[in-house]
């Protein structure tokens, strides 16, 4: 990414890509879920839940969806991000640095979310 491309700065370009890849699709998924637009088992689970349960589902789902979208963007090099494991350490490329896709590793049964979270979450 160059410092500027046309009128947009690096920060603006990053922001636009972040919102396009992560925020907007995650929000759209969440809004569609809340609107009851999902068919099959997903829609059935939503339809069967009471109001309190739906609220928990929507919040949990939105957080997971946003993280999934961020990791998916990294996996596909739409957002080429680096991570520093400890202060002063060498930055590590996240995309291709592992033998698995980050997004699938996060969201799958027995994956990172299941392993590390201290909070409830839903498998859909």
């Amino acid at each position: 990414m160059t410092e500027s491309e046309g009128e947009r700065t690096t920060g603006e370009m990053f922001a636009a890509e972040l919102i396009d890849q992560v925020r907007d699709p995650a929000l759209k998924e969440g809004l569609d879920l809340v609107a009851g637009k999902y068919p099959g088992a997903i829609g059935a689970a939503w339809a069967a839940a009471d109001e309190a349960e739906r609220l928990r589902m929507a919040v949990s789902n939105s957080v997971d969806e946003a993280i999934f979208r961020l990791l998916h963007a990294i996996d596909n090099a739409a957002l080429e991000l680096r991570w520093v494991r400890s202060p002063g350490g060498e930055p590590v490329e996240l995309a291709g640095s592992s033998d698995f896709d980050l997004a699938g590793e996060y969201i799958s049964e027995g994956g990172w979310r299941d392993t590390y979270t201290q909070e409830p979450h839903y498998p859909y």
């Binding site: 890849q21 699709p25 759209k28 998924e29 569609d32 637009k37 999902y38 068919p39 099959g40 088992a41 997903i42 997971d64 969806e65 999934f68 998916h72 596909n76 090099a77 739409a78 291709g96 033998d99 698995f100 896709d101 997004a103 699938g104 590793e105 969201i107 799958s108 049964e109 027995g110 994956g111 498998p123 859909y124």
Partner: protein
Amino acid sequence: MASRCESGPGRRQFGQTIQFVNPPVFRGCYYLGGTGTDLVCGSEEVPDWALVSLQFDRVASGAVESGGAGRALARLLRAGVRAEPFKGKGHHIIAKALFRGNTTYAPGGVETLNRWALSLSDDTLRAIGTRHTILSGKQKSNYFAYMSEGRQLTFQGVFRIETKSLIDAGVEPGLARTIVRAGLDDLIARGVTAPTHVPWTKGPVL
């Protein structure tokens, strides 16, 4: 922007391949989509919304017109499923990690392949009864389960795993098979002969 078809005179119908004088992205072979869409090549302009998929130049030479991915994609279109080359968003029908580490596929290597391999958008995933997050999770679980049985991973195995993943994620079984067949045929038409890496594991294919 509309593009003019140059595949020669004659009517091209829904699901058939067409080529263009001024292709929207690059010279290649496009599929005509949209229910009931057809056009008369050599005379009509083709709107972008009618273009569903495209192939590499070697495919545009005619290899696909006689079958393979063309037929599979046409079946997919008739089933109401719109698949597109991956453009930075969407779900690869066939897990891209299968080809990690291989640099012989397609011009530009595996990263180029990843960009052009068929994918499903969020809207399409919703239309077939699933979501991206669910499907990715099922893929990982099913690849892991398959490999834990000590089986060699071939395209036949990939077909089983990807089909099961779609079904587990809520897609109707017949449609799931059609989608995965189209994804595999598309890769084969590009010259991919076998997977080289087992997704979500540390090892290459045995």
